[in-house]
Subunit: 474 residues, 2 copies
Amino acid sequence: MIENLNNIDLNHRGIKLFPWPTEYDRSYRPLESASYWCPEIEKADKNTLDNIIFFKLKNIVSWAWEKSTFYKNKWKEAGVHPDILKDLSDFSKFPIVHKSDLRLSQEASPPFGDYLCVPEEEIARVHGTSGTTGKPTLFGIGRGDMERIAEAHARILWGAGLRPTDTVFIGSFFSLYWGSWGALVGCERLGAKVIPFGAGIPGQTAVAAKLIARVKPTCFYGTPSYAFRLAEVAKKEGFDPRRDFSFRIMFFSGEPGAGISSTKKQLENIFGAKVIDMGSTAEMTPWMTNAECEYRTGMHLWQDIVYTEVCDAKNFKPVPFGSEGTPVYTHLERTSQPMIRFVSGDLTVWTNEPCPCGRSYPRLPKGIYGRIDDMIIVRGVNLYPNAIEDILRSIPGVGNEYRVVVSKNGSMDELKLLVEHEGTSDFDVLVSLKNKIAEKIQIMAGLRPTVEIVEPNSLPRTEFKSKRVMDYRK
Amino acid sequence: MIENLNNIDLNHRGIKLFPWPTEYDRSYRPLESASYWCPEIEKADKNTLDNIIFFKLKNIVSWAWEKSTFYKNKWKEAGVHPDILKDLSDFSKFPIVHKSDLRLSQEASPPFGDYLCVPEEEIARVHGTSGTTGKPTLFGIGRGDMERIAEAHARILWGAGLRPTDTVFIGSFFSLYWGSWGALVGCERLGAKVIPFGAGIPGQTAVAAKLIARVKPTCFYGTPSYAFRLAEVAKKEGFDPRRDFSFRIMFFSGEPGAGISSTKKQLENIFGAKVIDMGSTAEMTPWMTNAECEYRTGMHLWQDIVYTEVCDAKNFKPVPFGSEGTPVYTHLERTSQPMIRFVSGDLTVWTNEPCPCGRSYPRLPKGIYGRIDDMIIVRGVNLYPNAIEDILRSIPGVGNEYRVVVSKNGSMDELKLLVEHEGTSDFDVLVSLKNKIAEKIQIMAGLRPTVEIVEPNSLPRTEFKSKRVMDYRK
């Protein structure tokens, strides 16, 4: 295995695969005109890519076995051992890690859990989940991880089309949430100028709009919800985002919106920019290795950094390309708190059909379109909120915000949509909009919802992640 | 001059003074037990320190002359030239820079002004003033500046007592405002763990309190207003900041509170930690070089990084030690937008009396206690808001928040104080509190205010900088 890797010379890219974990030379940067940060990896043939992945996988599995009682106990219990890994296909014999495992481990071994694989003094940064459903899960990020994540993000952002000449506006709040920090360190490593504006402080979105019109950043990072909010506030301040802003690339994470095809189109129309979907799941912090390239054919899985298997949601064995499953993620470079077969609970389909960019990584052509647990069952029909969003945003005349409300009327489930219109006062147009929405949802779901058309800006806004589904049945 | 400097060998500190700007080796760190980051500079005799300052000053003045029309024009107009600098004392012949000069320059040469001394592509980060009084002034921070500021802050934080074993909670928002970023890069360079929590998002202070009780950071950075707010919210959540938190050092900037002696005492009582005052003025971003050492005898002026003259507020010539004046700041290592004789408008007294720490830098023993323009004149009496705060926080029974309200009653000025009590329901205690406040203010100012005692938590709170004076006369 290691002999095979010796054929890959990455010295001129500043990359040393041996010894694990990979070492990177921070002074390396591709030519401005280059399409790839490291074509030898990104366009590698299957065998080479698999070899790189397997080499890193062997190492991180041994590392976790040696350094953490969490993995040692889990694997002993499952009857596996690092030595059984003879081939990539052996890996699916390893048990999966659930979010709840991490919570329990942090309860028992506070504050970072017994899956912390470095001494506490090696931790450079403490981040965490937002903790909306209880105590945040903490992420202790080692110094080495901080270096390596900058490299990973720079490579991925280069693939999205960012260049050192860009100025990037970061419009997502800087706190426990990692997304904005990841964008920052990636852009810094890539050599771009950064405006780390953040978001969420009351009244700051108008300041943001004025600043963007003045400094003319060329790239944007945030959540889709914040981008919609920014556009609305900008218009109120007298700006047209297409004319007065200068975004050419907008990259998103934190919410699935940028991967929903009609949401992507709507954002591209509003801002006149390429909309790039990125993301992963909080527990994979600080890595965010599902990311579209500038061709926007669905997020690539950057497998040599985080190894992702799309798996059956019951037995967690990888499903064939073309099938639906849930991503199961494995850090390949994270020494501090490696996640090894962490099940995200998201839903997606994967494919290995070629992308025009030429990268060898598999893709998620429909993005992340739901979660195992966010499916709503209404009168026996399975509905995914993102599928509803996709329909709504594809209908001309629909405004920026909506809500999905599920309730019970006696023993009967009721599905109601509150949908903002775009600002017409023509009654006939509104009636026809209402009917069109009901009809399109009925075609998709076989279920006709009640639709209420409401005034623009009448529904609450958020600057981070929107909660658009209300289920009042329980 | 340069020959003298050759006697200072800083190689073992990773510092190369030649060529300017200073180069730092990021792998250097003092022994954990060392009191100084670089004793050769911090404890230098006057002649050596002056030589270092003068060497850097010569260089930055020449740099600004060559690279910016702003300084060239300003200096030509004033009839000065870099060559007239034969000695440190010549420097006060150079004209001062006002905040309004920067605004005009950015209007005429958007967005960074014609005092930008590096090509735009060298800018790594864009920050700015909060823009509460109009358009923010933008700070373009060069890549080299980002490296050097990490060194400066690490050195200063070391002097405040921070060590690599510390975990630092940053409770000030991450946006255009630089303070929190400066704390972050300084702590990172010093090798401490950082929790970059931020502040200002509604509802997050309770999350912060729980997180602090759980992770037990040993250091805190934020504004005094936020520390008071955090203590209040923590108590509501059932925590006692002395018992359940573990802060040993709290360092502050953004507001002068930590330098007001009774505010400092109050914070030290609430948290059981050393309270360290730091600060400068937004335009000196990213440098924050007024900073106390752990002996807390007033902020040292770290003169070899930013050269500060305390000057007469009219003719801007340095005043003798022991006298009041306004700080006039000069960056010595900032290549991107150097401020050369920037007048802050703050008021302070400086001294060169020795500090127990042994550092040679002059100090501001009373901190920054006002601004030239925030003096309130009530019935002909000059009042500084910070002097009022100092009195209020020294009186037992006074709660956390207060307001100073000035108005007109016919032709007569009225001074009214709204002061929260600490939570007693004893009427006699409240009456005596009211009288004591009126009396102490009268002794200081020769003017008896109306005092209204109000309920705890009845006045609005902020998580950033408090506005406590309302003048309704105009």
